[in-house]
């Protein structure tokens, strides 16, 4: 493992007029791992990724990607970088093969290397049977595999993926993540943005972004362990009544329903959180089983975004 991080950002800020899209973000993204950006829409994930690959210039702050100062040395980074945009941005009116050939030539692969790499990738990403099909006629999952194949043609050291799975079915998502893990094993550093909790949980490290600020950072396990809240699960037959009984309590910061259960997040320093919830429910005459449970990533997300989501 290389100790030098792949990406270092300090005080990264981007303003669009009055709007502060990214606000004073510090990052140190280690190599050969999957680093996730988790956040709701508009939290600054895409803007941050665009600043990291030199598409946007930061309003203030510094970024160093694989040792290159951005956006000044953006051109030097191009060959080491693969980028998958949020929207499918290859050409709908070209076939899979033509798209791959074009990208390979743009990245300077010679004819022989091109043929070999396209054969490898079409096997790896199950594209061999659709090579002559136009990209515009393919399913979301196929298009996503094509986009990943195109982004990895030149064996980049760093792969930036901006919400890569927003338009694909669950099976394709699972296959996609398997591919990402294979790439990491080969030494690739991957930065992926998502708003899916299950995807975020698969990352080696995670940054939670909210309204342009970095509000939590660490491995998913550490984030769940160190959550700034006590998580109390309530199991009851009368969920609305339980919800009503718990609403308005100063200690209970957030209540979320999961089927017939409720997840209540309480201030971390609440003494005996389960007992506190139990007393509230009993006072309202609600019969329920109450116990403290380990936090899920969603709990972490809610707690670290100030209980607003």
């Amino acid at each position: 493992m290389n100790v030098q991080p792949a990406i270092v950002a300090r005080g990264l800020t981007r303003r669009f007029g009055k709007l502060v899209a990214v606000d004073d973000v510090d990052l140190a993204i280690p190599k050969a791992g999957i680093y996730g950006f988790l956040g709701p829409n508009g939290s600054g994930k895409s803007t941050t990724i665009r600043m990291l690959c030199g598409l946007l210039a930061p309003s203030s702050g510094t970024v160093e990607v694989l040792g290159h100062q951005m956006p000044r040395d953006a051109e030097q980074l191009r060959r080491q970088l693969g980028y998958m945009t949020q929207r499918f941005s290859l050409w709908d009116d070209l076939t899979v093969l033509e798209n791959l050939e074009f990208m390979a030539r743009i990245f300077g692969l010679g004819a022989a290397a091109r043929r070999q790499r396209i054969a490898e990738l079409s096997a790896e990403y199950d594209l061999a049977s659709v090579l002559r099909q136009r990209a515009g006629t393919m399913s979301g999952g196929q298009r996503q595999r094509l986009a990943l194949a195109a982004a990895t043609l030149h064996r980049p050291e760093l792969l930036l993926l901006d919400e890569p799975t927003s338009a694909v079915d669950p099976q394709s998502r699972r296959d996609f993540w398997e591919s990402l893990f294979r790439l990491v094993q080969q030494g690739t550093t991957i930065l992926v943005s998502t708003h899916y909790m299950d995807e975020a949980e698969r990352c080696h490290r995670l940054a939670i972004l909210d309204e342009g600020r970095l509000v939590a950072e660490g491995s998913p396990r550490a984030l769940m362990r160190d959550i700034a809240a006590a998580v109390v699960e309530v199991e009851t037959d009368d969920v609305p009544a339980a919800r009503g009984a718990l609403a308005g309590d100063a200690q209970i910061r957030s209540i979320a329903q999961l089927g017939t259960r409720l997840h209540a997040l309480l201030d971390r320093d609440t003494p005996d959180a389960a007992e506190h919830v139990h007393r509230r429910l009993a006072a309202a005459g609600v019969v329920a089983q109450v116990h403290v449970v380990p936090a899920s990533l969603e709990d972490v997300f809610v707690a670290s975004t100030g209980f607003r989501h």
Partner: protein
């Protein structure tokens, strides 16, 4: 570097070949415009329907009417019984011109203080009006001894286009109009489309340089432009018998210069427009003044000073000068240094602005 430009070119040509509408426009626009301007829009006014009231019915009046008809401008329908009938037929749209020759025609011819005959012209159509007015210049047939000087003061001769056929004047200028129309729109739209669809966001993160991207995208259109020039010249020669009096190489050189200028204009538009629709609008915004002010339809010299200044900025104005000079007057391009230089100046300035505006970044 060359490989990257080549890759962009191959991609562009493939996309073009699959976009049937655009492909059709490459051939369709020149053909349609040629036929439209060659056949339908005809500035030669011939065979206007006319009727006569000849109250004199003398040998002189008959000779005069024969001279009028011989001009080819009018074609006489059945004569009218009197002036009121002539006016009724004109208001009904049956005739555009009426000729009234009074009973005392021969005496009036000698008496210079009174007009000898009356010409009634339908003033509702500007073209008819101006042409029919020209009929007043038709001289009386010479009759020895009756009057002194009836010979016309001027003899009119039209240089370079002796038959005064519109097609001959239109075709060279049409090369410019067609190139202007297709090149600007195609390039502006081709570039803006990639921005709109997000392709550009991806391309920016690749090693392709902006100038390589632009060169690769624009080169296929240079070839298309030259095909269009050939098409216009071919159809012009085949259907309308338009000669190329000057050197063909000079003409293609001038066309190449103009294509470069229009592609640059398209590039400039693409840096201003955010959507394909805006690109279309902007392209049309430059089209209209080009067609109206470049001297394609209306003589340049008759325009107000301000319009002449605007016309100087439009590349079509200078290409029209070049094309008419080479095709009709047979001038070598070396004699046409001024319009060529102006075209180069436009190219350099527009390219500088476009390059400054097109950066490999999203903001």
């Amino acid at each position: 570097m060359l490989d990257r430009i080549g890759a962009v070119m191959v991609k562009e040509v493939r996309q073009l070949a699959r976009d049937r509408l655009t492909f059709g426009m490459i051939v369709g626009i020149p053909l349609m415009q040629m036929l439209l301007f060659g056949y339908a829009i005809n500035f030669d006014v011939r065979d206007l329907r006319a009727a006569v009231v000849d109250e004199a019915d003398s040998s002189l009046s008959r000779a005069y009417l024969a001279a009028l008809e011989a001009s080819g401008v009018v074609e006489f329908a059945a004569p009218s019984a009197g002036l009121p009938d002539l006016q009724r037929r004109m208001s009904a749209g049956d005739i555009s011109v009426g000729v009234y020759i009074p009973r005392d025609f021969e005496r009036r011819v000698l008496d210079r203080s009174r007009p000898a005959a009356q010409l009634l012209v339908d003033g509702s159509e500007p073209m008819v009006d101006s042409v029919a007015r020209g009929l007043t210049a038709v001289p009386l047939p010479r009759r020895d001894g009756i009057y002194g000087s009836t010979a016309p003061v001027f003899e009119l001769r039209t240089e370079y286009n002796p038959e005064r056929r519109t097609a001959v004047q239109i075709v060279p200028a049409l090369i410019g109009v067609i190139l202007n129309m297709t090149m600007v729109i195609f390039t502006a739209v081709a570039i803006v489309r990639e921005r709109e669809r997000g392709n550009l966001e991806l391309l920016i993160t690749t090693p392709v340089r902006s100038w390589e991207l632009m060169t690769g995208k624009l080169l296929p259109y240079v070839a298309i432009g030259l095909v269009q020039v050939t098409l216009v010249l071919g159809v012009g020669s085949l259907l309308f018998d338009v000669p190329v009096n000057g050197s063909l190489a000079d003409l293609y050189l001038a066309a190449l210069l103009f294509i470069a200028a229009t592609l640059t204009l398209g590039l400039l538009i693409s840096t201003l427009a955010r959507t394909q629709f805006q690109a279309f609008q902007l392209a049309f915004f430059t089209m209209l003044p080009s067609i109206l002010l470049s001297g394609f339809m209306f003589p340049f010299d008759g325009m107000p000073r301000a319009a002449q200044w605007i016309a100087q900025v439009l590349p079509l104005t200078h290409f029209n000068d070049l094309a008419r000079g080479i095709v009709l007057r047979g001038a070598p391009i070396s004699d046409l240094g001024l319009p060529a230089a102006k075209l180069v100046a436009f190219l350099v300035v527009a390219l500088a602005i476009a390059t400054l505006r097109f950066r490999k970044r999203l903001d």
